[in-house]
Symmetry: C2
Subunit: 596 residues, 2 copies
Amino acid sequence: MTYRAPVKDMLFDIRHLAGIDEIAKLPGFEEAGFDTAQAVLEECARFNEEVVAPLNVPGDRNPSSWNNGEVSTTPGFKEAYRQYIEGGWQGLQHPGPFGGQGLPKTIGAACGEMLNSANLSFALCPLLTDGAIEALLTAGSDELKATYLEKLVSGEWTGTMNLTEPQAGSDLALVRTRAEPQPDGSYKIFGTKIFITYGEHDMAGNIVHLVLARVTGAPEGVKGISLFVVPKFLVGKDGSLGARNDVHCVSIEHKLGIKASPTAVLQYGDRGGAVGYLVGQENRGLEYMFIMMNAARYAVGVQGIAIAERAYQKAVTYAKERVQSRPVDGSMNSSAPIIHHPDVKRMLMTMRAFTEGCRAMATVAAAAYDASHHHPDAQVRKQNQAFYEFMVPLVKGYSTEMSLEVTSLGVQVHGGMGFIEETGAAQYYRDAKILTIYEGTTAIQANDLVGRKTARDGGQTARAVAAQIEKTEGELARRDTVAARAVLRRLSAARKAFLDVVDFIASQTKASPNAAFAGSVPYLMLAGNLVAGWQLARSLLAAEDLAAKGEDTAFMQAKITTARFYADHILARAPGIRDSIVEGAESVTSLAIEAF
Amino acid sequence: MTYRAPVKDMLFDIRHLAGIDEIAKLPGFEEAGFDTAQAVLEECARFNEEVVAPLNVPGDRNPSSWNNGEVSTTPGFKEAYRQYIEGGWQGLQHPGPFGGQGLPKTIGAACGEMLNSANLSFALCPLLTDGAIEALLTAGSDELKATYLEKLVSGEWTGTMNLTEPQAGSDLALVRTRAEPQPDGSYKIFGTKIFITYGEHDMAGNIVHLVLARVTGAPEGVKGISLFVVPKFLVGKDGSLGARNDVHCVSIEHKLGIKASPTAVLQYGDRGGAVGYLVGQENRGLEYMFIMMNAARYAVGVQGIAIAERAYQKAVTYAKERVQSRPVDGSMNSSAPIIHHPDVKRMLMTMRAFTEGCRAMATVAAAAYDASHHHPDAQVRKQNQAFYEFMVPLVKGYSTEMSLEVTSLGVQVHGGMGFIEETGAAQYYRDAKILTIYEGTTAIQANDLVGRKTARDGGQTARAVAAQIEKTEGELARRDTVAARAVLRRLSAARKAFLDVVDFIASQTKASPNAAFAGSVPYLMLAGNLVAGWQLARSLLAAEDLAAKGEDTAFMQAKITTARFYADHILARAPGIRDSIVEGAESVTSLAIEAF
């Protein structure tokens, strides 16, 4: 078996950090207690370990291919996707009325991690479908919902997000695709979209494209963008598939990684116009697209955790098998498995601590999402909403950036073998690199964190997070263990560094935007580092309590050591980042363009 | 043109940091003053920009291929290599008596950087030849020298290093290839060597393999390893090529990067035994191999700088062309080239500062090498030797680790386009990953730094380096500029962090080896960071002086800004690394193997 889902660690987070028993008290989540979580995760683990994970290497060696407008996925993908539908996995978090299971995101996120660990390329198709469902649920008319949602929730049809055009990447103001209103209320869509993940494939009966375009006469810039549904096959009133729509895949990209996932160039309207249906109101497309993007951004963060987990597992397996050199402490008389060497342990611990820290952060963010939607008290919903929204750029930005470091270490642990493609470690290194780019680069996440999430409320939400961290410090201070003391010191220093930066960002964003945005990505990295470290500190507290009760002491001891490692080696980076942001802005922007 | 050699920056380092005019006072280097350096670098730039650089992408798309024991290199490589020979580039640093030009390493290293920037895969062939030349010069008999050196120095024949076997990577004690003494004084060699760069190819008339093997009856472990010359074609007394030797390429590897460079599996002795000639004395092979390896390690560090430079240039070009979004400071009313966005500048400045910092470090190390070989005063030679040897693991380890960060940022600057292979940024990301692995992984460099370079002399050399840095701090303190003050603060903090770590390492390596080696790679990263930052601080001092004289003020101003950026954003990482090493060792090694 090449992947074993870390069910125990996930359930630890779900129970002790996210408080699944509290979530199960929320209206609508009555069935979603710990036992449900455990049952779902175990079944999900089986499916992904046995069905999806074995397709990861074949997908890299024999990627999706394009032929005359049609895309064939890697052999085996179609059958695995059929089983994915049959298992009802697409509907896990979606509402019962459309055929979903309505489970909390707290559980769904763990399942998402498993699917992505098993096969990042495969998992992208459901990930995009989730986004399309969110957009239709939020802004779609009853008719659109009735026509599309059930099939999307079941996974019979898949969804896509069509934002990017050759001249319009991060800058959606530049979108040129146009929509001409038709007498029947529909639109004809004309334009070219690029980088469309699963924009064409052979795994589903229909593909539901969600497309940004400008209605004739709409204003310039982002205020003139509308969102449309453009199905690959038109759908009759009875739900039957009709004519092929005028959207065609003219090529797919040759990429560094996630090769099995087809990245399509889609041409709309070359044969008279693609039939599209407006979602919500005209010129509000960007707003709706953000709904999809926010769901997708969180999910891409989980992809970072997922690939880090898989890279970690592979590196551990190799480090236990590969025999080279004697341990430096003289504990063995002959060459030992390399896991005995301190630097190999340092690399594995770094991989492990990053992965567990980000998983804990993402799980707690998911719980806030659940509370923000289901809690009966509006004030509590609002607090959780603010917390969740603050977390989204951290989950997306930090978890994916750390996945680059982790997958690089994964290759490094393998030494020369890591550079040989047949070994498989290099695939994770290649696959991970897209994660800091798509659904908004790390810089875009950081702009969101600086602008909408920090400066807009004068740093209030950020300081509320810091106040929560301070409470955890209080709990650590009441412990008399070496590990708690070590973690307390680093957590406290990191929180103070964070608060300095929040003050800097809140005061500079308007006064000196270049200075604030010069520190945007470092701020994101500091905030993500802090929050992940905080959640591991909470893990340590829970693990110490549980170990004291004699519960699974080996696991709890490992959790404590991992939390301490994170604090000593990763949280320790925080004060230096503070200095760079608060004192180093000028040297970022002062070099003249011509001098580059 | 896809690559422009940074001749001006190289000459700045060679003149103002390495002191080429002082080097030209050393016996044997009388012709090697600034004017020579300039002339050589300009000619070298032309050759690499025009002839070698254009083959970089073709090499990736159409790599070396194996067919029935023969390896064909990428079309164009053979002709470019012919021009490389004709230009006399292989002999640049090698002794006149064997046809070389005997130039200082201070100049040769810059030429090496250009060749590697132009084409890492192509440059590996000369790099390995250099190593073979070093080994023969140091330990070869007069007969071996007479037979092989001239052809290697001219580049007509190429060299290889054969260390690794499937079970023996970093751990050479496990080498099993055997050598049977023959009545005529030669040996018959039997065994399998893997990962042999340019172990087989079609660019040269002969390939001179330098092979580690065990003579029948030799002791176990590294004390029983000898070094042999095994030519692909036997060489007659008159220098003519004779019979094909019994060494055959049975396959080449399918790799993540440097695809044009064939990585061979070589089979020795399947048809009766490969004829080999002992280099130096039996059982001293490891010692001689270290000569090759030390030259090669420095050269691989330069490869890190080279690929970082190339990635930087590509990212700058894209950032100036790609138009997306308005600047945050409201300075433009429409979408601007992305280089105007603070985070893009931050990424480019990080790439630039790392590259210039490591180039400065490597250039100064090269000057110490030159003085260690040519200075008339034995004491000065010894000091320079100690300094150079301290620098080798930093140049190799730090410059290659930073190249991973730089090439990753290079992809990131390109956004989604970076992930598309046709763009070319991804190739650098893939190519760079081997640099932290071959010629000794970063961990192996760090072990060298901890054991031989720090603990062995009780930290004396390390503290001598710190004392030199303190002198630079004194000079900065006498300046009244904002930049000098900013750099001084970070440099001083980083030096103090370094000294704490040196004390820790020097005291713990024997007492608590696990603790010392748990911090080995972080120590290397801290030391490399500090030395590169120090050299940029020296650059700042020189640039301020030259700018005051009105010399090339735009260049000098950029140098000052880059030095300050390095201090604010990279040197600022140093104190956190200190904390991790000195206070975080326990959590690195305390997790039980079974818990992974």
